[in-house]
Symmetry: C2
Subunit: 175 residues, 2 copies
């Protein structure tokens, strides 16, 4: 892809990962070239600036694998996990499942923490804190559900089955 393409495709997910500005993207691409993790093919356009198509190299792919290999900190953010998900195309399925399970453990920890603080100090906690905690708690539980569902799905249906929607999961709340 070109720098512009990368930006555009990331911009669609701005609400999950905040996407980079051109001011940070292009320097990084140069860094990748210098490090031999990517190559460019320049496709000149007559009028506008030439498109520069970047491709990942074997070394680059290895670097991604390595990055994905080392565990996330316990503070694992939604953002980081989404990026790992986004790069899932590079990995073997087993590693993908590892990622999901790792995330599952993290989110479980977050949820448990939220539960504990919620029913520990329920009375003297102000509305804001309580709302934020319950918000986080609910999202955690939803995420756990998705993770479990997706892990199972990947484990059973080995072939990616292109064209089939991976999941259509209505969320139901009973209060």
């Amino acid at each position: 892809m070109s720098g512009y393409d990368i930006q555009r495709s990331l911009k669609r997910l701005t609400w999950l990962i905040s996407s980079p500005s051109s001011g940070s993207l292009y320097p990084v691409l140069y860094g990748l070239l210098e490090g031999g993790l990517a190559t460019v093919e320049v496709v000149p356009n007559l009028d506008r600036p030439p498109r520069k198509i970047y491709s990942i190299t074997a070394a680059g792919r290895k670097a991604v694998q390595h990055w994905a290999g080392q565990p996330t900190g316990p503070d694992g953010s939604l953002r980081e996990f989404t990026m790992r998900l986004l790069l899932a195309g590079c990995w073997p399925k087993s590693r993908l499942i590892d990622q999901l399970e790792q995330r599952h453990r993290q989110v479980t920890a977050h949820r448990d923490g939220a539960i504990k603080t919620l029913d520990a100090a329920d009375v003297e906690m102000d509305l804001g804190q309580r709302l934020a905690l319950e918000y986080g708690l609910f999202l955690s539980e939803a995420e756990l559900a998705w993770l479990e569902h997706t892990i199972e799905m990947l484990a059973t249906a080995s072939p990616p089955e292109k064209g089939s929607k991976l999941a259509a999961l209505p969320v139901q709340v009973d209060g």
Copy 2:
């Protein structure tokens, strides 16, 4: 609260908002003092550094109101919303409901975007992209459910009803 207290209480929510380091927190507190948005009361400890208890002033409260008043960008992140939620104690309930409804509109937009891109390019999309989109889609739907539930709860049960858990919402998935 003291700077340390602020840090500690935010650290419990690191997975939602990433909490500040002391290197950024303390300078900000000085800024608040200079701006007249907060005051300090120094409680000296014999041995350790003295505790500095910060309190928000009327001007500070007004500044928060003003901040909450201006709408979030359409790219509204989970982080920003959580912070708004955390500050909910400062606001009248009507404003809180406004915030939730605003967030509801944003998340609806995100969800719709995800749906569109998912069933637009379903075939030629790689696993990573699809997973990330479905992940986001599912979380969006969960969040919408929570928002609706909470809005209704705040609208009907006017008195905060301290001591009652605001919500115990099991998430259910049917795949």
